[in-house]
Symmetry: C2
Subunit: 335 residues, 2 copies
């Protein structure tokens, strides 16, 4: 036994980074009035529409860069340390040799938002009904039930993978969501395409509200997107894309991932998970028919049960990451 | 020459981290209505007042933890990679063996804010004049002139240390500032005191708007604050504190740092740098009279010229950091 060599757990070794940091992509300078700037000194120029990006690049030989895009009511912090203090996907993908980029969606967190309309309403220069709604996910219904931690607020599924003892820390991760304030098309698409190009090609992984962002960014710059990973997407746009768009998307490998308990109806408006699951299956079918490499990863079919909508925070979050990484490295050409 | 041994530049070596990640401190759960949540599913509970904290802890023996607190219209991103892509203070303090914590102020960035009043106004449930102003720093006046990059918008001081070729990237770092939406007292004080205590004692470094936050946090929990570093503080509260408060603050080492070109009047309301400099000198005098160890670091007096308000981003940002670290390690007991 004394001679037994233990394989060191890579996750317990020091993290060695070649380089790390943050930067912003996209955005445009615009002039705003004294009132629009919150009565801040004088009329002046500001930048709006930029996207915050934090990143870590491991030492040694690296694999394809991956960009992690959070969902509604969250910032990129949701991909970092889990609410119960374990390693999140940001660090784990780095430890698996992928330079990893985490963004805050335009309109949220460190990317900021255009505050001008709120100040105009406050000053009586615009009608209150012109003011975009600022949404926040509530703890019991929008999170616990809708994210499929359990069928009823505070009651977990017996096999849930969510660290329910830390659910109050999940609540602290929530941020006001200014998506309703963004112009159309959503500037996140363009910013993500620009980021992927800047990285000389990247895998885009979008969660929930951002589930279809990899598709939309790929349509803007298909050569910059090496693979698309849709984790619990809120929509797959299966019937929206034209034949030409499907032909473009079919040139890029696609993986869709959905957790467990999809068939438990939540009865909450905007939370029809079975319908979303089926819609994504239809997108996969269209892409395959067009010659694409597209597939569904549904852990329950592999005997892995209890994953929630927030699988990057579930107890088996690294097991799910391993499945995604295995797909990237064996199925996704160029990744 | 072949035998010459070069001293490796520590800043070009891989960064080795014992642990890194993020978490939230503080905050309280409150109930909000359907309207207050932006018509998001149903009335529910959310957390407000929490503070986002990202951190890196180096391998090997470590020195005192330090917390970096950004100023108005910014997030913690301002302490990371500089606008022109150099290493910021976040990483540099880690490389100098200090476990380093960067926060987003409550009301900004990844800490979020209480959106309820905006949605109530939008729904006609509250008067627009009840809506707090959301401020944003403009490029020319609030930043360039007020931050003392130059005396006139786009015209730099000849000796400026700011990387003016990257000033558009500074503009992208700006975020809407919800400080006017916060209750009184500012919940950042309590969150910072809680963070310092959680770290078993920390040095607090506050910039600009957050210049007096280390003082306020120390008054809440003086034993948790090992030293206070005020970088270009917007106020020093020199005449506001009682004799008892001064006696408490005098138990903790204090350093105030101001850059160059203070005596060039900006003529901008709320930007009287000479008055702020003098006020902080008066605080230092009061603390010294009470037996405290308090001093001013004014780089021009050391022959270091051209530093702006944003000295963590200036070209000589690591030189300024070295001066602060030297003070921490030689003057600040317990740090």
């Amino acid at each position: 036994m004394a001679n037994e060599i233990e394989t060191p757990n890579i996750n317990e070794q020091p993290l060695q980074l070649k380089v790390r940091g943050s930067f912003f992509v996209g955005g445009e300078g615009i002039e705003q009035t004294f009132v629009e700037l919150g009565s801040q000194r004088a009329a002046d120029r500001v930048t709006i529409g930029q996207m915050y990006v934090e990143y870590m690049e491991p030492v040694g030989a690296t694999k394809a860069p991956i960009v992690l895009i959070h969902g509604a009511g969250q910032s990129g912090a949701g991909f970092d340390t889990t609410p119960d203090g374990r390693m999140g996907w940001f660090e784990y993908f780095v430890r698996r040799s992928h330079p990893t980029y985490v963004v805050d969606q335009v309109g949220r967190g460190r990317s900021g938002f255009d505050q001008s309309i709120f100040n105009r309403v406050g000053a009586g220069q615009a009608s209150p009904d012109k003011q975009p709604k600022i949404t926040r996910m509530g703890d019991r219904i929008a999170s616990w039930i809708n994210f499929r931690i359990g069928p009823d607020a505070t009651k977990p599924y017996p096999d849930t993978q969510y660290p329910i003892e830390a659910v109050s820390a999940l609540s602290r991760q929530g941020v006001p969501d200014l998506i309703a304030s963004l112009p159309s098309p959503n500037p996140n698409y363009k910013a993500l395409a620009a980021l992927a190009k800047k990285l000389n090609g990247a895998i885009l992984l979008g969660h929930s509200q951002a589930g279809d962002y990899p598709l939309e960014a790929a349509l803007l710059d298909p050569k910059a997107v090496r693979a698309m990973v849709l984790v619990e997407p809120g929509r797959c746009n299966a019937e929206i894309y034209t034949a030409d768009q499907i032909a473009t998307l079919a040139t890029i490998p696609l993986l869709v991932v959905y957790g467990d308990h999809l068939d438990t109806p939540t009865g909450i408006k905007g939370s029809d998970w079975p319908a979303r699951f089926q819609e994504c299956k239809r997108l996969i079918a269209r892409l395959k028919k067009a010659g694409g490499q597209a597939e569904m990863l549904h852990p329950p079919e592999l005997g892995i049960h209890g994953n929630t909508h927030l699988m990057m925070q579930d107890r088996n979050n690294l097991q799910i990451a391993d499945l995604i990484i295995d797909w990237m490295e064996t199925r996704a050409a160029g990744a």
